[in-house]
Point group: D2
Chain length 309, copies 4
């Protein structure tokens, strides 16, 4: 189980069909750099084009179609002291009748203060002068090569992952993706220093990061949509429009998980979901919206509950 | 500010156009009984028909069109020791391709144990034998007479409230509704002992309650959709299909709130929502789905933040 | 089978719970007046308020819950020489990103020329100086009292009919509605001199009409959504948001029709729909959108095809 | 302007990034073969895998990013005498509550009779024994390389075209696609002998064809979504879920067309659409649904109407 340090030179705006930049073994750890959604790196230089240029792909030995690639997000350290967002909110998240009253969208710079623990607007209006938000790093876009030899823009997402913009894809989470190609071909990028639910302004606080992650191949574990595990929770993510369909994908995937790995039947799984499930609207902005279906571990009947993997 | 005890004799399956059962003053408290979604009361007797028979309407003196009626949910005490739910999950919350594999829906009885602090299935399968959920009472359906002299089924919801099935409409929350008729005509019912996000099985743990609530007329405060306030948070609820539109209503209403009452402009409100908003999918089952747009009070810039009313 | 001439004095902005203005027998014909969507009558005087003030309700003897009320639209004669529409298109029918570039909505007056056979803008821009559209009268909003003692705004629609804005609800069509109350309580209004698919500008050419219709009670024929029959076609209408759900309702209803009345099983009905069905997007503007599922009579296998009723 | 005869040897299940199989000049005509949606060719042999294996890509000299590639569908001749469909209807086109009552999906063989002018089920039930449908050939899936170096599965569609399953993409129609790569890279396949609106059973009558088409580069004509022109009509196609968004794309594109090429302003274009537009639901089955926004040429004000190109 090696620890690789990888400095990216090329970046990809589509996921799939790229040439691997590094081959790692199952269990290896990688320390690498991600640039921001518009291609600006740690030094503030634009080294790639939008949207969401990816670092990678990483070829993970042993990952074969039908397996699951697990990526433990070990650490995300902002690699510069500024980020950016847009305002006002996107036109599709408010009533159509009021979109014409929204001012034109403009970009704002944020400063990551106090060792990167809080963010504040660099040029704040009076009302926001003393307003800060905690820095909670997350990966906006990551995933593996999609099925059917596709190469899909990093603007959107699907069963293979992609631009899901889900705040729980954060340090401490083990993200899981269905492998469609030998080696999985893992890409990552589009780190956010912070983001509210739904990504209502169309971005999180976009900045560059040093990211450390550890791969793991779950042999023969066949999944349909991205999943995640934290110490306290398990979750699935569905990506589609409208939100209704994203929710259907996520709910179906969580039911599959409960029946396959936790020994529940459909009625038992329904009781658990009916009383204990929580949904997160990850993004309602990208071409595919993302909804997470989340369950506290303590809500899962203990009879056959697996220990954290 | 009186305290009324009201025992309902008649119940309504539509909200609007009913004759008031009690007239109260602004600030009065009412202690009353709600029966369950199928009309079963505290003694287990069916005294009304489905869906969601309502207690009320209560005429609140001083509430006029253009005002807001605030209802503080002071207390909800289950009035019997059993509730019920259905399983499996509703056919519209999973991928259409798998709905044919769902078993037929059946009703399960729950027992409210330990002084009503936890609920467990009365006849649990082996896997759920030791599985309990905490009792967290909430009001599934409540609201005021809708605009335009409508009378709308308690199966659905709208700007006037209705069958929103949102777990945060719970003791400690001040719910707010836009008044369309003199006296507001407030209805309530459909209490749940517990419910997960989305109401995936089509119900919470349905039971009867003793409910205590306090009314307050917010003169001249014009709102568009139901709102709520807790000690720590403010939220709005949008009701529509698909979820996308429910979210648009809720988001628009919260932006209106931030700009009207908290002195933010659209760009400032967008920054706050962009980093700090949280969405809850209240129900994805009823004819109108419900999405809540929620904001921690501490995320609201303090410059002109109002104290809790 | 009498022929009644009825001059309305009162109008309703909600469907359901109104007092009958006239009682007719099964098979009777009624000649009456409808006013426009804003309440302007044949003389251009505003005699009722918006939205869509209805003439009626008519009590049809013999119509009982579980029956179908059929209304043959015999004739629609514009009762004045002007109508109106709004422009530009509604904000929800174009990409959200371009709604802010739409000019403010304004009202345009149309003149019904040549004995009411064509319509043209009263004050046309140069480009539209010689542009006319054929007058094709249709009923925008009609239906019967909804189930569950509801009274629902004429802005929207449901299984009972309502504001469907479907151009095929025109002279020569027999419209069918599910009866929920004794006497059915039939309302009608909101006539259009013309309307494109989707009602993209939010209205047809709104004007007042003399309408002649003939009622018929189809005893024991239980239907779920509005239906229609012309000489050449049969159709069903589903009302909901999003369009996907309106389509599901309409398709389900047409399948039910084919299996119940035409002796097809689900596979046979699927073959017919798969090759021969046509969809119309009636309106994509009202609170509930309307989609029609339409089938040429000649596409229906002849083995048990019923003659036109 | 040459006429090429091209016999495909390789087929693609994704659109984009393929190596050109033939280079043609602007104005050239190509006669080629398409195989069916599962890869069966004129002799009934499976020569490629699903979904929708494409013939091509064809490199069209002179087509550059920012141009439009027009493809005149000159002729489609079925190259075998059988086709196939599935039944019953797809689970997502009916109310979720009834999907569990649908029988399992099975494949049916159709015979193309009378010189390919009508189709009938090879093994028809009694009810469908004498039931035939006219053969109306159409291209289910075609388009050009998408933007951003993507390669996208032929199961779905987007601004570049793809699996739109629109019956009006038929002989006599000039289809237009936005060019993203030099040479456009045009793919085609998935021919249907017939298909109803919505593609409710998930396919048309799938068979192989000899297709003749003529290319034309519209230099500097920048379009956003696929368009089409027939002698009598112009139309645009939007691809997305839900239908509402597909409709928004198509409507926006048609408005852009009217304002750019026909000299109308937004209000004038709105009047035309408001009274004269027609929508077709092309497919409500694929990952992206397709809606066409269609306008009779005679409804377009004549002041600056272009002659057919």
């Amino acid at each position: 189980m090696s620890r690789h340090v990888f400095l990216p030179k090329v970046f990809h705006n589509a996921i799939g069909l790229g040439d691997p930049v590094l081959t790692v073994d199952d269990g290896d750890t990688v320390v690498t750099q991600t640039i921001d959604a518009w291609g600006f790196d740690a030094s503030g230089e634009q080294v790639a084009i939008r949207p969401n240029p990816m670092t990678g792909p990483f070829f993970v030995r042993g990952a074969e179609p039908g397996d699951t690639l697990e990526v433990m997000i070990d650490r995300m350290t902002p690699s510069r002291t500024t980020g950016w967002t847009f305002a006002p909110v996107a036109s599709n998240v408010v009533d159509p009748a009021i979109t014409s009253s929204l001012p034109e969208r403009g970009r704002s710079i944020w400063t990551l203060d106090h060792g990167g623990r809080v963010a504040r607007l660099a040029e704040a209006s009076a009302a926001l002068q003393h307003w800060t938000v905690p820095v909670r790093p997350m990966i906006g876009c990551f995933g593996v090569a999609p099925a059917l030899n596709q190469a899909i823009s990093t603007a959107t997402s699907g069963p293979y992952g992609g631009n899901m913009d889900y705040p729980l894809f954060a340090p401490g989470t083990r993200a899981q993706f269905p492998v469609s190609l030998s080696g999985a071909l893992f890409y990552l990028g589009d780190g956010h220093a912070s983001q509210g639910d739904g990504e209502l302004v169309g971005n999180g606080i976009e900045t560059s990061f040093e990211v450390e992650f550890t791969t793991r191949v779950l042999k023969g574990r066949r999944i349909g949509w991205p999943r995640g595990e934290t110490l306290d929770e398990i979750f699935t993510v569905g990506n589609a429009r409208p939100l209704d369909q994203a929710l259907q994908h996520a709910t179906t995937e969580l039911i599959n998980w409960l029946t396959t790995d936790f020994g529940l039947d459909l009625v038992e799984a329904s009781h658990v979901l009916g009383q204990c499930v929580q949904f997160d609207i990850a993004n309602v902005y990208n071409p595919a919206y993302s909804v997470a279906c989340r369950l506290p571990r303590k809500a899962i009947p203990s009879i056959r509950q697996k220990a954290p993997l």
